[in-house]
């Protein structure tokens, strides 16, 4: 899929979410779903398999995220998957989040943790990252068990790695 088409889908999703007044929520939910899709080969195969009818793929999406995400998010994901662009969903969502961050004049900060953060922790972490980088951040938290423990924050080209995984990697290098 070309960058132009990805941007087109991202712009469409962005406009729909903004029109619905749920941009923050949708953006956050889509971001989590995109990361989950990247991390699960089985899910990726299910949602991108052209042999599976579009209606079946859409029902998988609804079964998967219908109970935990907003209706707008479910419909948008279902639309992308139904149109046969499931493989490009992470790129579309990344473009959407970049567009939303730019619209809010924020810097995208991806945070990976082994366990979910509380709302209060997210706020404090966003403030801490803003203080550290001098930029207001659009925090996106991804629960990633491979982190093992701690936090990995990526803001643009800057990576702040406080994960147990990196400590183990350092120990491995020393060994």
């Amino acid at each position: 899929m070309t960058d132009q088409r990805i941007d087109g889908y991202a712009r469409a999703l962005f406009e729909i979410a903004r029109a619905e007044g749920t941009l923050d929520t949708v953006e956050d939910e889509l971001y989590r779903f995109a990361r989950a899709l990247e991390g699960s080969e089985a899910l990726r195969n299910s949602l991108t398999d052209e042999q599976i009818p579009a209606s079946r793929r859409q029902s998988i999406v609804e079964d998967l995220v219908g109970g935990s995400a907003s209706p707008t998010t479910v419909q948008l994901v279902s639309m992308v998957v139904g149109s046969g662009r499931g493989r490009d969903l992470p790129a579309i969502v990344d473009s959407l989040v970049a567009r939303a961050s730019s619209a809010k004049n924020l810097e995208l900060a991806e945070v990976r943790t082994a366990v979910p953060l509380t709302g209060e922790q997210e706020s404090r972490l966003a403030a801490a990252l803003a203080a550290a980088t001098g930029k207001s951040v659009n925090l996106k938290v991804v629960v990633d068990p491979s982190v093992i423990g701690g936090v990995v924050a990526t803001i643009g080209d800057t990576v702040i790695d406080g994960s147990v995984r990196s400590r183990i990697e350092q120990l491995k290098s020393r060994l």
């Binding site: 943790t113 082994a114 366990v115 953060l117 922790q121 404090r124 972490l125 403030a127 801490a128 990252l129 203080a131 550290a132 093992i148 423990g149 701690g150 936090v151 924050a153 702040i160 406080g162 147990v164 183990i168 120990l171 491995k172 060994l175």
Partner: protein
Amino acid sequence: MILLATEDPTRTHSWIWPEGYEIYFGGAASIFVFALLFKLAGPTLKKGMSDRTARIQKQLDDAANAMSSAQAEAIRIREAKGDIGSERARLLAEADTQAQQLLVDGRARLEVEIVDLETKAVADNVAASGRIGDELRAEVARLSIAAVDHVVSGSLDAATHQELIENFIVRVGAGR
């Protein structure tokens, strides 16, 4: 006539000699024949004898020449035999020299090769030792990492997770 009539015509006067007239006529005829032979066949006979003498002389000369040639050839062969002997001696000496040189060169080359092989063997030994050491260290590291991974993952409870997150927030907020 009576006398003649009394003689027996089937008997001779002597048991060895012929009749007198036979001797006279026979002798004269013989002399005539010999004279005729001497006159007519003498020159031919003399020429034949001369030719035979000349032919024999020529054969003797040819034999002498052949003998001279054979002696010259024998001398040449003897000389050539002498040359062959000296050439054989020279070739043998040269072969000995070359063999000796080959032996010296071969020994020198073998010594160099032995030194090279020993050096290579030592280097291979060191490399193998290093490689085995590296592999052993890598294996120990891998096992250690696996053990650390297992122990750390198993020991991270909810409180520890929260503590790690809080520490990260504080550290980042404090300017990393």
